[in-house]
């Protein structure tokens, strides 16, 4: 027993000596926590370093961290298992290398960014011009003094104006996003902040919502013709798809910018106004939804008018589904009742729908190509089933004309030689 105690004391003494007076009062937990704090701070600083001076300090700070904690590498390896001390330091170096690469890329793009800034200013001016023109055109359109031809001309110009504005806003968005690359996940918080600030400065979300709002106003103020809808539906779909691809990026960038603003404001006194990216995006969503409602309302009502104005009684419809059901029901009842579908087929389907409405109806946000083809086939069957005897009349006429023509061209002249012979004695 005494021997065991002596052995224990000896081991304890070795342990005391081994850990030395300088290290004696250190808690392993504190070492771990301190390492974690310094490590996380360094990671964040690498991520947010934006100036060459800040970047230049990073390698020394990594080196300092490594040398300060190298003696505790085994302890830290255990504490942060499965990561190792060397692995964690390596991660910092990799992160720094990536940040440096990004910084270099941004510097290289500096000149291009200046160009793009100039382009942005130009686009801004162009958009303002288009806005003024749009206001003027809408006012003209609302006035009753214009002739029908004049109204059509205004609608055409207004439509072109809206399309041009949409293109310009789109170009503006591209100009802002271009220097930052396509993938938002690759951007640091500082870059996201810069992007968010640019988007806010250019009023991008307000402008996008403005494009939607202009289209809503246009639909409210205009009496459209069948052919107009093809272009309008395409414009709506393109806008919707672009916004779907843009929404999350813009919202994330503005949110990052808001977070940085809030962080910076924490230490300062006074209230800070924080722009609300999410709310602005929701405003675009709402405008887009209203645009769709207006477009649908106008579109299906005008299409319904094609039937009612020709006294063809079809079930009322107000969307793709009910339109499809209405046409199917009409065809079915025409087959069973034996009523003459001539007006429906010839005047409405062939001359109006297939000619002027087809482009809009075939778009995916309306009926879609497959469903349109299906309805077209159904109506064409109805057409064939009712045989038109006039065709026979036309064919017979054509055959008669051809026969007469052929007879006239192939008949032989009879009296050409006799007058020549009779003239000889007088010579």
């Amino acid at each position: 027993m005494k021997l065991t105690r002596i052995v224990h004391i000896a081991i304890a003494l070795i342990a005391f000596v081994a850990f030395g007076p300088a290290q004696q009062q250190k808690s392993d937990f504190e070492i771990k926590e301190r390492f974690k704090t310094v490590y996380e701070t360094l990671k964040n600083d690498i991520d947010s370093a934006s100036t060459p001076e800040q970047m230049a300090q990073i390698p020394n700070r990594i080196k300092g961290l490594e040398s300060e904690f190298a003696e505790h590498s085994a302890l830290l390896g255990g504490a942060f298992y499965p990561k190792t001390f060397d692995g964690m330091i390596g991660e910092l170096r990799d992160q720094y290398a990536m940040a440096q690469k990004k910084a270099t890329t941004i510097q290289e793009q500096g000149v291009r960014i200046v160009d793009l800034e100039g382009q942005l200013a130009l686009l801004n001016t162009e958009i303002e011009k288009l806005n003024a023109e749009r206001t003027e055109l809408l006012a003209k359109l609302r006035s009753v003094q214009n002739s029908l031809v004049g109204q059509r001309e205004i609608v055409k110009r207004l439509n072109a104006n809206l399309a041009a504005k949409d293109r310009l806003v789109n170009a503006m968005v591209d100009s802002i996003f271009l220097p930052f690359g396509k993938n938002m996940d690759d951007l640091s918080e500082v870059q996201k902040d810069a992007l968010g600030k640019k988007l806010e400065k250019a009023n991008i979300l307000t402008r996008i919502a403005g494009v939607a709002q202009d289209n809503i106003n246009f639909l409210s103020a205009t009496k459209l013709e069948a052919k107009d809808y093809g272009v309008l539906v395409t414009q709506y779909e393109q806008f919707k798809n672009r916004w779907a691809g843009l929404r999350d990026k813009v919202t994330a960038a503005i949110a990052a910018s808001n977070a940085m603003t809030a962080k910076a404001a924490k230490g300062k006194k006074g209230a800070v106004t924080i722009p609300e990216g999410e709310n602005q995006s929701a405003r675009v969503d709402a405008a887009l939804a209203e645009w769709r409602t207006k477009l649908d309302g106008s579109f299906w009502a005008s299409l319904m008018n094609e039937f009612s104005s020709r006294s063809v009684l079809v079930q009322p419809f107000n969307d793709a589904k009910s339109f499809s059901a209405s046409i199917r029901s009409y065809v079915e009842s025409a087959k069973t009742s034996g009523a003459d579908p001539k007006t429906f087929v010839d005047e409405i389907w062939i001359r109006r729908i297939d000619k002027d409405w087809r482009q809009a109806l075939e778009s995916e946000s309306m009926l879609g190509k497959v469903e349109y083809a299906s309805l077209d086939k159904l109506v064409s069957h109805l057409h064939k089933e009712k045989f038109d005897w006039k065709i026979i009349f036309y064919i017979v006429n054509v055959i008669a004309v051809v026969a007469v023509g052929w007879w006239f061209l192939t008949r032989k002249p009879k009296t050409v030689q006799q007058p020549a012979a009779a003239a000889k004695p007088n010579a």
Partner: protein, 164 residues
Amino acid sequence: MKNKLTQHTRMVTLIVGLAFLLPACSSLSLQQVDYGWPVESVLNVKENNTVSEGRYAISFNVAPLAEKEFEDPNALKGKEIRLLRSNEGMYYITGPNFKYVYVMTPQASELKLRNKFEVSKTGLKKPALNQRDPYVELLDGSDLRLLMTSDELLEEQDLRAEGR
């Protein structure tokens, strides 16, 4: 006579055989197990008097410990305790204001007190447990430093007093 001898020999063989076989069947033991955690865990006591350690997946109720240390089962609610498992597998528990370090043996669904060391008359201020194989080290700021095994407490001054 010969029959009796044979019967006797068989009996002896059976007893000797069983003596070798039975221990072999009864247990299998794996040696050189190291249960030690590299660093202590600092755990907050929840409202229901329990603590849980995520990495090593252990949780237990500390009400009996609070009762023993502070004579109040709820005394540790919202406070922190420090827990470290030694290489031999014992759990060392202490915390701020504790006068003792508790050495607990893990058993089926319980931690049983194996030993407790009085380490402070007035209560620890800023305790920390470190793994110092084969010991567990207790620090309390710069005031106190001692080494423990599950059975023994070795104070630095004791070692020095012995002229080491």
